[in-house]
């Protein structure tokens, strides 16, 4: 409970709540879409660069197990999510696969919020976590989109969706940043460090303010999607987070690293996945997958999920 309050009073989480309030009181405040996009670009490049610099200092042997664990989770979580929603929830094939793609991928901001949270708790996760973030972004989407292919006649836009996933803006910025950070290393990074490191938390603050406003709009659709999806959006992340904690410790991650890993795995994509699903599965309803990932799982993780994964990690491996 205490850790939840610590989390709820951190500036970035309060910014998110403020964003929701802004819409609740029907303020006419609007964030320019371009500002939102510009901050995304900044955050992705910054995460990539820092991750790359850290990776350049990490011995390969330390990195290989967590990386394998990440890809493993990227393959297993969409399958779990699909089975639950398709057979427990009796949702149709396209919508099930669409939702699974979201829960197999990852939410950058949830990832960042967990790092922020741990830092206020005085903990520092492994420097290569952003690399794991990049590794986790893609496989889950591919696995989920392949399910309908296996179950029905081949889909002509699967290839197009794959291209979209692999060359999507977010992954390109993240990977590009990683590679540049890795090649540049800590010394050459110094010149651009003030811009990408000092401003980071503040930019994240503004980003979450806007994301709160977007999430508030999603809340209106909660009724439409029904109780099953709401429960799904809370319980599946807990399940995924729990599995990730076990696997994370097993792969040798520190306590802080494990919490971030669990947060990543439990989070649901709302940028890369929707684009791919829109192309590959046009019949899947955005109302369902966006409400689940952005209207339920995202606020849940940001407020309660992260401290919860921390508590569980402490209990299991602390």
């Amino acid at each position: 409970m205490d850790t939840i309050i610590t989390n709820l009073t951190s500036p970035v989480v309060m910014a998110f709540v403020m964003g929701i309030m802004v819409k609740a009181i029907k303020s006419d405040l609007e964030f320019p879409q371009v500002l939102y996009k510009s901050i995304s670009i900044y955050l992705l490049v910054a995460i990539g660069l820092k991750g790359g610099v850290e990776l350049s200092k990490t011995p390969f042997s330390e990195f290989i197990l967590p990386a394998s664990a990440t890809i493993f989770m990227g393959i297993i979580t969409p399958i779990i999510a699909f089975v639950i929603i398709r057979y427990l929830g009796k949702v149709d094939l396209d919508n099930s696969a669409g939702v699974a793609a979201h829960y197999g991928s990852v939410s950058m901001v949830t990832f960042l919020a967990s790092i922020s949270y741990l830092q206020t708790e005085g903990l520092e996760p492994e420097g290569f976590m952003p690399t794991l973030l990049a590794l986790l972004e893609i496989p889950g989407i591919i696995v989920a989109l392949m399910i309908p292919l296996l179950q029905k006649s081949s889909n002509s836009s699967f290839g197009k969706a794959m291209h979209e996933v692999v060359t999507g803006g977010s992954i390109v910025l993240l990977l590009g940043g990683l590679i540049i950070g890795f090649i540049a290393g800590p010394v050459k990074f110094q010149s651009i460090e003030p811009f990408f490191v000092n401003g980071f938390q503040g930019a994240l603050f503004l980003f979450l303010l806007e994301l709160g406003m977007v999430t508030a709009r999603r809340f209106r659709d909660l009724k439409k999607v029904g109780f099953f999806i709401v429960a799904f959006g809370i319980l599946v992340p807990i399940l995924h987070g729990f599995l990730a904690i076990l696997i994370g410790f097993w792969s040798g991650l520190s306590l802080a690293g494990t919490v971030v890993f669990a947060t990543m795995v439990s989070s649901a994509s709302y940028i890369a996945a929707p684009a791919a699903v829109r192309i590959a599965l046009p019949k899947a309803s955005p109302t369902i997958y966006l409400t689940a990932s952005l209207g339920i799982t995202f606020p849940f993780n940001i407020t309660i999920g992260i401290p919860l994964y921390y508590a569980i990690s402490l209990w299991i491996g602390g």
Binding site: Q33, V214, D221, I271, P274, R278, P282, K283, P286, L290
Partner: protein, 97 residues
């Protein structure tokens, strides 16, 4: 000279597809506007990719019909897209056909 101004409004991610299609059908140019909109479908993924686009192209009657048919066939079922056309008066219209 009288030609047809065909207007297509669609989700942003269809933009490149549609542009390719209209060019293949005979359009010699187009103008694109960023727009927002609401229609018979509710929310769509484009909330994340940015807004809808409006594509306008001036073409002859025949090309207009081809484009309109193609749009209805390919996209009407699964995507948020509308198309309409009207007759406009252009100068040096031969440039467009």
């Amino acid at each position: 000279m009288e030609l047809e101004l065909v207007t297509i409004i669609s989700e942003r991610f269809l933009k490149d597809d549609i542009l390719k299609m209209i060019e293949e059908r005979g359009s010699k140019g187009h103008t694109i506007t960023d727009v927002e909109g609401e229609g018979s479908r509710g929310i769509r993924a484009s909330e994340w990719e940015g807004k809808n686009v409006k594509i306008e192209t001036i073409v002859n009657k025949e090309t207009a019909n081809k484009i309109i048919d193609e749009i209805s066939e390919l996209y009407f079922e699964n995507y948020a897209v509308i198309v309409y056309s009207k007759t406009v008066r252009v100068v040096r219209g031969d440039k467009y056909i």
